[in-house]
């Protein structure tokens, strides 16, 4: 048997080579595995790619600066197909095969609800952009947090502000979703208290036409119609309402009448539509950074939230000194709130992690309560004028 005995020259060459390698290749240990699970196809397909890209962008920067705890971060991306079944299959693979310690970016409440039990049972952290209040009521043992304000908080703020405009008859139209009942109940209470007549209609999603639904809704001669569905339905409804000569106000969540919807319809159909959306932290350093990573003027709210997901996870790992899902759960609030130094990226926060940091990101302050809900929100109202949403005050 030959024995390998390094001579002096070999050792020196080896040392020189080590120093010449980029920082991350010198990082010891196996890579830290994180997952992005976003809707790349299906009704949410227009949001997923930038949600994923912003997370990969953040990780790339952190890797170039040496990783976290001296380890490289590896991102594994999968597609929910905006379908709970597909999302569960993907999550199983991410948890069981890849062994990721956090899944980030799930969109749509039905999907987060389906994936959440896999997360808490396997002690994997789940960070989502879903608004249904039922999500954080799940027995998730702290493994679920969301950067999207809950739907009760959102609808209460929106309905209260809209009700001040003195509408007399309001109709809520939307498909069945975990969000529907809460939304209807909140709007009903607030508008009836303000003296308006209120009715609601739950329709079937993804139909070719809603002409008959529109005929039914218009019987109440509404001066405001609230959309509770997603973009595909909104396009059909907007067109059907315009063709039926509806002249009242239409209000919708920003994701239901997004730029894709606006671009696919003539300007006269979308003019005057009021959109409501939890505002990202416009003007903040985090928001500018997320937009810069994506190479866009202004990151969309979901991408802004995903930027925060990955930064929070990386900071929590650094704070904990370990990378398990449990460690992220236990230390997330140590870096997201409190007295520490305000930072808006992991890159910045990692340098000060020992002194304590308070992350304030692209979507907002990222202050979470015990249930995993964000506790603060600003609502952004826009009115669509000539194919562009313009910010307005209600």
């Amino acid at each position: 048997m030959t024995k390998f005995i390094p001579n002096r020259r070999a050792v020196l060459a080896g040392m020189a080579a080590t120093l010449a390698t980029p920082a991350i290749l010198r990082a010891s240990g196996a890579p830290i595995k994180l997952a992005t699970l976003t809707p790349m196809t299906g009704v949410g397909g227009s949001y997923g790619p930038s949600m994923r890209d912003v997370m990969i962008g953040v990780v790339k920067e952190v890797n170039e600066a040496g990783g976290v705890l001296g380890r490289e971060i590896e991102v594994i991306s999968d597609d929910t197909q905006t379908s709970p079944e597909a999302a569960v299959r993907a999550a199983r693979k991410l948890i069981d095969v890849d062994g990721v310690s956090a899944i980030m970016g799930t969109w749509a409440s039905s999907i987060t609800t389906a994936v959440a039990p896999l997360a808490w049972e396997s002690k994997t952290m789940l960070l989502c952009t879903s608004g249904s209040d039922t999500i954080t009521l799940l027995p998730h043992k702290g493994y679920v947090v969301r950067t999207q304000p809950g739907s009760i908080l959102q609808t209460t703020v929106a309905a209260t502000d809209l009700s001040k405009k003195g509408y007399k008859s309001v109709v809520w139209m939307g498909p069945q979703s975990p969000f529907a009942e809460v939304s209807i109940e909140t709007y009903k209470n607030i508008f009836e208290a303000a003296g308006a007549k209120f009715s609601s209609m739950i329709y079937e999603a993804d139909k070719a036409t809603y002409r008959s639904e529109v005929d039914t809704a218009l019987r109440d001669k509404p001066d405001m119609i609230v959309f509770g569905g997603y973009a595909t339905d909104s396009t059909v409804l907007l067109r059907d309402l315009w063709q039926a000569s509806y002249e009242g106000t239409i209000s919708a969540q920003g994701y239901a009448v997004n730029q894709g919807v606006i671009d696919s319809l003539p300007a006269e159909v979308t003019n005057g539509v009021i959109t409501t959306a939890p505002a990202p932290a416009l003007g903040s350093t985090g928001f500018a950074r997320a937009s810069e990573i994506l190479g866009v003027e202004a990151a969309d709210p979901y991408s802004a939230q995903c930027y925060d997901h990955v930064n929070l996870v990386l900071l929590a790992m650094a704070k904990a000194g370990e990378t398990s899902g449990e460690a992220v759960r236990d230390h997330l609030r140590d870096v997201s709130q409190g007295e520490g130094m305000k930072v808006s990226s992991a890159l910045e926060g990692l340098k000060h992690i020992s002194e304590g940091v308070n992350y304030e990101g692209a979507s907002g302050a990222c202050t979470f309560n015990d249930k995993g809900d964000v506790t603060e929100m600003t609502m952004l109202y826009s009115e669509i004028k000539d194919k562009k949403p313009v910010s307005i005050d209600l």
Partner: protein, 288 residues
């Protein structure tokens, strides 16, 4: 609520006429090839996007876009059939039908790759609905209805009066006998796919004209299209039209009694009722 019935019936007729176009294509292919080609779901999308490319990218008027939708989906339909489905036909209808489902996924993703996921709209002026008595109807709907009727008239004439049509009917009725008479059933099968998929693609464009298009378009309409073909009698062209009307009017009129959340259930209720009493469908001649 009953005052809305005439409007619901009108909406149902228009929706039914739109469903009838792809349902006729689906049914025609079934009658000749004897397997349900589920890839119609994405061929409708292919037609809608081919029409979009012709209308928006090339600036062609809608009638020319209809021709583009027909040709592109017809040619792609034949290619998919030749490459993936025909070699499997000897293994039986079920195997071929399952392969056609795989075709749906592949084609849908090809469309997604080329056009992206965003919704797109045709370059058409939008016009307010016309009102008469207490009813309303959109001029675009009238156009769609006329185009749909025109397509169905052409299909009917081709099947009834041309040699190709007669040969197709002969193969549909009895492939063995047709072969003995010197009709090349492979060639006729190819023609059935060409015309069938062309019609499905045109149907996809018509469905897209009323709203925006995205890669999931055909998939969303597949169930009512399938319901229409089954209710009318798989393989029967007039049956597909009648089935589409039953499903279209049934879905819209169901709003009088049911929450709109259950609209699709109505199509399936019709399938169950019709097949319970008449397994071959309303106008179907064979029970398959």
């Amino acid at each position: 609520m009953l005052d809305l019935l005439p409007q619901f019936l009108l909406n149902g007729i228009i929706y039914g006429a739109l469903l009838a176009v792809p349902a006729v294509g689906f049914s025609a292919m079934f009658s000749v090839l004897r397997f349900p080609n589920f890839s119609v779901a994405s061929q409708a999308t292919v037609g809608a996007f081919a029409g979009y490319a012709a209308n928006v990218w090339l600036g062609w008027p809608i009638l020319l876009a209809v021709v583009a939708a027909f040709l592109v989906s017809a040619v792609i339909g034949v290619i998919v059939d030749e490459v993936a489905l025909r070699p499997l036909r000897k293994h039986g209808a079920l195997t071929t039908a399952i392969a056609s489902i795989a075709g749906v996924v592949v084609l849908e993703n090809v469309v997604r790759f080329i056009f992206g996921n965003d919704m797109r709209g045709y370059d058409l002026p939008l016009v307010r609905d016309l009102r008469f008595w207490d009813l309303r109807i959109g001029p675009q709907q009238i156009n769609n209805l006329l185009i749909a009727l025109g397509i169905m008239a052409v299909i009917f004439a081709v099947l009834r009066f041309t040699r190709i049509g007669k040969a197709m009917r002969a193969v549909a009725d009895n492939p063995g006998l047709a072969e003995l008479k010197g009709i090349d059933s492979i060639q006729i099968g190819r023609l059935a796919v060409f015309f069938g998929m062309g019609i499905v693609g045109t149907g996809g464009l018509l469905l897209g004209l009323g709203n925006s298009i995205d890669p999931m378009l055909g998939f969303r309409f597949f169930l009512p299209i399938f319901a229409a073909a089954v209710v009318g009698g798989l393989g029967s062209t007039p049956g597909a039209v009648l089935g589409a009307m039953v499903v279209g009017i049934g879905e819209e009129a169901s709003l009088l009694l049911l929450s709109p959340a259950y609209k699709s259930a109505v199509g399936f209720l019709f399938i169950v009722i019709v097949l319970s009493f008449r397994p071959r469908g309303i106008l179907g001649e064979r029970a398959y």
